[in-house]
Symmetry: C2
Subunit: 329 residues, 2 copies
C-alpha cells in the first residue's frame, strides 16, 4: 500500500478543489457562486481535509475515493468562517476582506448557506461504503459546531466563564471538526469502529491543544511570525483560557486592576496589552497554559501510539500534529 507524503496529499486535494472551483465559477447566479469561489480561493492551511486524507491513507491508498469527503469538510469549514465573520463583525481574514465586507452581509449569509448544502453534495458524490455513518457523523458535528459558536458568543457577555465551560466550548467549536475529519477518513477506508473512535479522540485532543496554543500565541507569540497583531484577544476582552485562568487566580489590587482594564472602554491599546500581560506574568498564566497544552498533547500522542497500526504508517500524523503544536503562526 502506497504511503503518501503530505505534499502529495496536498497536491491531490488541490486538484480536486480546482475542479469544484471551476464548476462553481461556471454556476449561475454568479452573485451566489462568486463569494463561494472567493472564500475557497483564500488559501488556508487545509488542515482538516489533509487530516482526513492521512487518516484514510492509514487503511487504503485509493485516495481519490476520499477526495469528495475532504472537499466537503473544507467547504463546510469555510461556510462556518463566512457566517462567524458576520457574527463577530470581522473585517479581515487571511489578509483579505471577509466575504461580508467584500460582497455584502446578505451575500455572506446566502452563499454560506449554499456552501453548507454543497458540502453534502460532495459527501453524497463519493463512492462510499460507510456513507450513512459518515453523513451522520458530519451532521452531528455540524450541529455541535453551531453549538460551540453560540457558547462563544454568549461568553463575550459573561465574566464568570469557568475553565470547564471554556474547554467544552472549544471542543465544540474547533475540536470536533478535527475529530470528524479523522474519523470520516477512517470510516471511508473501512477501518472498523474501534480505530475510527481512537482517531476521533486523537483529533479532539489535538484540537483542544491547538486552540489553547492559539490563545497562547495571541498574547505571547512573536509579532513578526504570528502574522496577526499580538494582544488582539486582550484588547477585545476575549474569554480565552488565559483570561479565564487569570480571573480565577487574581486577587487583591491586581484583581482591581484587571477588572478595571476589562471595564475600560477608552484606553491606549499598547498600555492595556502591557498591563494585562504583566498580570498574566505575575500569575504564571503562560506556564499554566503551556502545561494544559502539554497535557492534551500527551493524550493525543498516547492515543496515536495505542492505535494498532504499523508505526511507520503513523509517522505522518505524528509529524503533522508535532508541526501543528510547534507552529509559530
Amino acid at each position: 500500500m502506497k504511503q503518501y507524503q503530505v505534499a502529495e496529499l496536498h497536491e491531490i486535494f488541490n486538484a480536486g478543489l480546482g475542479k469544484i472551483k471551476t464548476a462553481i465559477q461556471r454556476s449561475s447566479p454568479e452573485g451566489l457562486y462568486q463569494p463561494i469561489d472567493y472564500s475557497l480561493e483564500m488559501g488556508g492551511k487545509r488542515i482538516r481535509p489533509l487530516l482526513l486524507l492521512m487518516s484514510y491513507n492509514l487503511f487504503s491508498d485509493e485516495i481519490e475515493n476520499a477526495i469528495p469527503a475532504a472537499l466537503a469538510i473544507e467547504v463546510f469549514h469555510n461556510f462556518t468562517l463566512l457566517h462567524d465573520d458576520i457574527m463577530d463583525n470581522a473585517a479581515v481574514r487571511r489578509n483579505r476582506p471577509t466575504v461580508h465586507k467584500q460582497f455584502s452581509e446578505n451575500n455572506a449569509i446566502l452563499s454560506g448557506d449554499a456552501m453548507a448544502f454543497l458540502a453534502y453534495k460532495y459527501l453524497l458524490s463519493a463512492p462510499m461504503q460507510s456513507q450513512k455513518e459518515v453523513l451522520e457523523l458530519f451532521t452531528s458535528t455540524a450541529i455541535e459546531v453551531c453549538e460551540g459558536q453560540q457558547f462563544d458568543m454568549e461568553f463575550e457577555n459573561r465574566n464568570n466563564v469557568t475553565e470547564s465551560e471554556y474547554i467544552e466550548m472549544i471542543r465544540l467549536k474547533t475540536a470536533v471538526l478535527l475529530g470528524c475529519s479523522l474519523k470520516a477518513g477512517a470510516l471511508l477506508a473501512n477501518s472498523g469502529e474501534k480505530v475510527a473512535a481512537q482517531l476521533y479522540d486523537f483529533g479532539i485532543n489535538l484540537g483542544l491543544a491547538f486552540q489553547l496554543q492559539d490563545d497562547l500565541l495571541d498574547s505571547f507569540g512573536n509579532q513578526e511570525t504570528f502574522g496577526k497583531m499580538i494582544g488582539g484577544d486582550i484588547i477585545a476582552n476575549k474569554k480565552t483560557f488565559l483570561l479565564i485562568k487569570a480571573l480565577e487566580k487574581v486577587s487583591g489590587p491586581e484583581k482591581a486592576e484587571l477588572d478595571g482594564w476589562l471595564k475600560k472602554s477608552d484606553f491606549n491599546q499598547q498600555e492595556k496589552i502591557e498591563a494585562v500581560l504583566k498580570i498574566y506574568n505575575s500569575l504564571n498564566i503562560k506556564l499554566l497554559t503551556q502545561n494544559k497544552i502539554d497535557t492534551y498533547f500527551s493524550v493525543c500522542t498516547e492515543i496515536l501510539e495505542s492505535i494498532e497500526i504499523e508505526t511507520e504508517k503513523k509517522v505522518l500524523l505524528k509529524n503533522v500534529s508535532n508541526k501543528m503544536m510547534n507552529r509559530i503562526s
Copy 2:
C-alpha cells in the same frame, strides 16, 4: 391500504413535531435552540410536509416511516424563512416578530444554520430504503432554493426582469421544494422512478400557480381575508409577475406615470396603490395573471390525472391543490 384524511395526516405530523420540539426545548445552549423552537411554534399551514405524507400515502400506509422526512422538509422551510427575513429586513411573520427581531440577527443566522443540519439529522433518522436518492434530491433542492433567493434579491435592483426570468426565479425559490416534498414521499414509499418524477412535476406546476396567485392576491385580494395588507408589493416595487407584465405592456403617458411611481421615494401609500392598480386594470393585468395561473394549474391537474394510480387515491392531492388555488389567504 388505509387512506388517510388531511386532518389525520396533520395530527400525525403535529405529534412528530411535538416530539422534536420537546427535544429542542431540552437542548443546550438554550440561546441556540430557543429561536428554533420559536420559529417552529409559529404555526403555518405545513403544506410541504402534508404534501410529502399524501404522496407517501399513495403507495404505503406506514405513515410513521415518512414522518422524519416530513419534519426535515418543514424544518428546512423554516430555516429559509429565518435567513430570508434577515435578507429582506422583514419585521413580522405570521403576526409575530421575525426571529432576528425577537432575538437578534446573529441568533437568526446561527439558529438557522443549526436548523439546516437538523433537517439532515431527521432525514438520516428515517428507516429508508431510498435514503441516498432522497438525500440527493433534498440537497440539490436546497441549493436551488438558495439560487432562487439570490435571483429574487438581484431582481430588486433591476427594472428589466423578463417573464421567463421571473418564472425561473419562483420555480427555484418556491416550486422545487413542493416538487421535492412530493417526490421524496413517493421515493420513500418505493413508488418507482416514473411516478416519482410525475409527482415532482405536479409539485413544480402547483408551486408556480401558487406563487403567481400569491402575487395576484397581494394586489387584488380581499384585505380582510388576505391577512396582510393589500398592495405591499406595489409599495415596495416588488418585481412580481404583475409588475413585470405591466412594465412589458405599458406605453405612452401610462408608462411615464408607472415609471414615476417606481422612482418616487416619498409618496402617500394609498395613493400609489390606487394609481398602480388603475394602470394594472387598464392593462388587463389581473386577467393576464389569472390566465397564467390557470395554465399552470391545468398542467398540474393533467399530470395528476395521468398518474397511473386508482382515481380514489388521488382525491386528496386533487382536493388540496384545489384548496391551495381557491384560497383567500
